[in-house]
């Protein structure tokens, strides 16, 4: 049997939720361990095998000078690099700092701010290095993670559609909450979650970031017709994917 591809999992500024999706794979976890050599995954094992790595999964955003250096080293050791989750692909919820002065946050949060060495912005991995594939979501869908790893192993394209949440919503048989009066980000949001929130009669929160061709101004007009004001629109767009360009740009258009 040929050597299994070496897998590494890297963490930057993040909550760990996405890399834990890998441990949460349950039924598939043994198959993952059988298909790849888990060479560097501190959440799973303290035993670390040296690089280079055939596949790196990168979680988290770049928020410190140290991490901005570290990601360059990760890229150098990785033949194929996949970013996972909203932090790694869009900057995460911590990119809210990008809309304000980070010094104010540091002063408000830390008793001794002089020890904090942080960047003014939280940025996606792709702003620092070339990325081979981005898997969106806050958190990512573990079935999609297995699909991406399986596709990597088979040398095929992952079946991860970039269309709207609406298509998943309709495939599921849910009733459109927006047409029934609830503002929803589904029409501009990347599919992948399985349209969970509308199935529970809530508008989509945009956890998977912008879909492939989002028409943000048209959706914002639709929200206003349902009674949402600029603040509602801005707050809805400024969450886990606030720094994703279509969401960032539209939220700025609704600044008071």
């Amino acid at each position: 049997m040929t050597a299994r591809p070496k897998l590494a999992v890297w963490k930057f500024a993040s909550c760990d939720g996405c890399q834990l999706s890998l441990l949460d794979c349950e039924d598939e976890l043994l198959a993952v361990a059988g298909a790849v050599e888990i060479a560097n995954f501190p959440e799973a094992s303290s035993a670390i095998v040296e690089g280079p790595y055939d596949l790196s999964l990168v979680e988290g955003s770049i928020t410190t000078p140290h991490d901005a250096e570290r990601i360059l080293a990760v890229r150098k050791q990785s033949k194929f690099l996949v970013t996972i989750g909203a932090c790694a692909t869009a900057g995460g919820i911590q990119a809210l700092r990008n809309f304000a002065d980070v010094k104010d946050f540091v002063a408000a949060v830390y008793a001794s701010p002089q020890y904090i060495d942080t960047l003014a912005t939280s940025t996606p991995i792709s702003a620092h290095i070339p990325v081979d594939y981005e898997l969106h979501g806050c958190p990512i869908n573990k079935a999609q993670l297995v699909e991406v790893i399986s596709a990597f192993l088979a040398g095929r394209k992952p079946a991860v559609p970039a269309h709207s949440v609406c298509i998943e919503c309709k495939q599921r048989g849910s009733v459109c909450v927006m047409v029934q009066g609830t503002p929803c980000l589904g029409p501009v949001t990347h599919a992948g979650c399985g349209a969970i929130c509308p199935a529970y009669r809530r508008g989509c929160y945009g956890c998977y970031g912008p879909m492939e061709t989002p028409n943000m101004p048209a959706l914002a007009r639709g929200w206003r017709e349902l009674g949402a004001d600029g603040r509602d629109i801005r707050r809805a767009l400024r969450s886990f994917n606030a720094w994703a360009e279509p969401f960032r740009k539209e939220s700025a258009a609704h600044d008071d």
């Binding site: 598939e28 198959a31 993952v32 059988g34 298909a35 297995v146 699909e147 790893i149 399986s150 596709a151 192993l153 088979a154 095929r156 079946a159 559609p161 970039a162 269309h163 709207s164 609406c166 298509i167 309709k170 495939q171 599921r172 048989g173 849910s174 009733v175 459109c176 927006m178 047409v179 029934q180 009066g181 929803c184 589904g186 029409p187 501009v188 009669r201 879909m211 492939e212 061709t213 989002p214 028409n215 048209a218 959706l219 007009r221 639709g222």
Partner: protein, 381 residues
């Protein structure tokens, strides 16, 4: 109650009779699906009987708006059409086409799913929906290749039509000549009639199978007055259409205005979310996803509903052919209302109004067509 005479095509049942009809279809081993209230809408799902039906409910529909309201009576079919169509049963949104497994000796074993198990009975199929099913029949069964799973589900389906007692705000079946009366393609067709405390259904028998099912249902013969009253209900509905689409020369109009500025205008509003195509009862496009497992031993091909509004839909080597929103909306509307006629011999639109109601931003294809008709020949400079 009398037996149906061999030459009788119309009988009358009451609400109890409707329950008996559902029971008879269920006892015949059918999966009975029909309208029911869920998520503040009237959807199509499995029903057990009268208690499952949306008794006393109606729907109010406008472009991008849908709401349920109480009726003043206890009508079972006192609404128009909801977010679902019967295509979700005949052409499921997600369907595994085949699976393959690499055996230890290196050979590949390919397996196909069993023939669909469900023998459906559809309760409450509207005239526009019968036409929509006929359109999908032409796509899936009457071309050079037959979709065998669709054909199996379709040939087994027992159709109980309901003639519309009212039209909705986005209905335009009269324009498309598809309703509101079901004239063919059903086993039984009901017209609901409520006069004071009397709740009756005129039943038109449309097939021998329908006749044999009705033999198990208590009924009386329909007299001429009853048949006339039912006709009057449908005529009143025909006069209530919320929308109108001028189909006169529409194919040539759209095919001759491919560079009209209105396509850019609608692109400014269109979300490319694909809701219109998902709710359309005739849209039949699908994609296939191939999956392989981690061990690279098993693979499967899954078919899913797709839409001409996605970038992948027109993706070929080098990129998507229809990258702009204008080109994608134009593709959908010109196919639906014009090129469909060249391809299949009829319009692809049945006037059900779903694409208007369920567009989150209320884009109305009847208005888009009217706007092009108002200023034909305008091209991009």
């Amino acid at each position: 109650m009398q037996d149906i005479r061999p030459d009788t095509s119309h009988v009358v049942i009451d609400a109890h009779g409707l329950q008996c009809l559902i029971d008879a279809l269920s006892q015949d081993g059918r999966r009975v699906v029909g309208p029911t209230v869920r998520d503040e809408a009237i959807v199509y799902d499995d029903i057990a009987g009268l208690g499952s039906l949306p008794r006393g409910w109606t729907d109010r529909q406008e472009a991008g708006r849908y709401a349920l309201e109480r009726r003043e009576d206890e009508a079972c079919f006192g609404y128009v059409v909801g977010p679902h169509s019967w295509k979700k049963f005949l052409f499921p949104p997600v369907e595994t086409l085949w699976k393959a497994r690499r055996e230890d000796d290196g050979t590949m074993a390919v397996s196909r799913p069993e023939r669909p198990a469900d023998r459906f009975a559809f309760i409450g199929v509207r005239a526009c929906e019968i036409e929509a099913i006929a359109i999908q029949d032409r796509v899936f069964e009457q071309g050079p290749y037959t979709d065998t799973a669709y054909a199996a589900r379709r040939s087994d389906a027992f159709i109980v039509a309901v003639n519309c007692g009212q039209a909705g705000g986005t209905c335009f079946c009269v324009s498309m000549e598809t309703g509101p009366r079901a004239t063919h393609g059903f086993d039984l067709a009901l017209t609901e009639m409520i006069e004071g405390a009397e709740h009756r259904f005129l039943v038109e028998i449309g097939s021998e199978e329908g006749r044999s099912v009705m033999a198990q249902v208590p009924h009386v013969r329909a007299d001429e007055a009853r048949i006339g009253a039912a006709s009057a209900i449908v005529e009143r509905t025909a006069a209530q259409m919320g929308r109108h689409l001028d189909t006169d020369g529409l194919k040539e109009l759209l095919q001759g205005n491919l560079e009209h500025p209105r396509w850019d205008d609608v692109a400014d509003r269109c979300l490319t979310c694909a809701n219109c195509t998902m709710v359309c009862p005739t849209c039949f496009c699908s994609t296939v996803e191939d999956h392989s497992d981690l061990a690279n031993r098993e693979a499967e091909r899954v078919r899913k509903w797709d839409s001409c509004f996605t970038m992948d839909f027109s993706y070929i080597h080098g990129g998507s052919v229809r990258a702009s929103t204008a080109s994608r909306y134009r593709q959908w509307m010109t196919h639906k209302l014009a090129n469909w006629i060249d391809q299949f011999g009829t319009s692809g639109c049945v006037g059900c109004g779903r694409c208007i109601t369920w567009c989150p931003v209320g884009i109305d294809l009847t208005q888009e067509a009217a706007a092009i008709r108002a200023t034909p020949g305008e091209g991009r400079s």
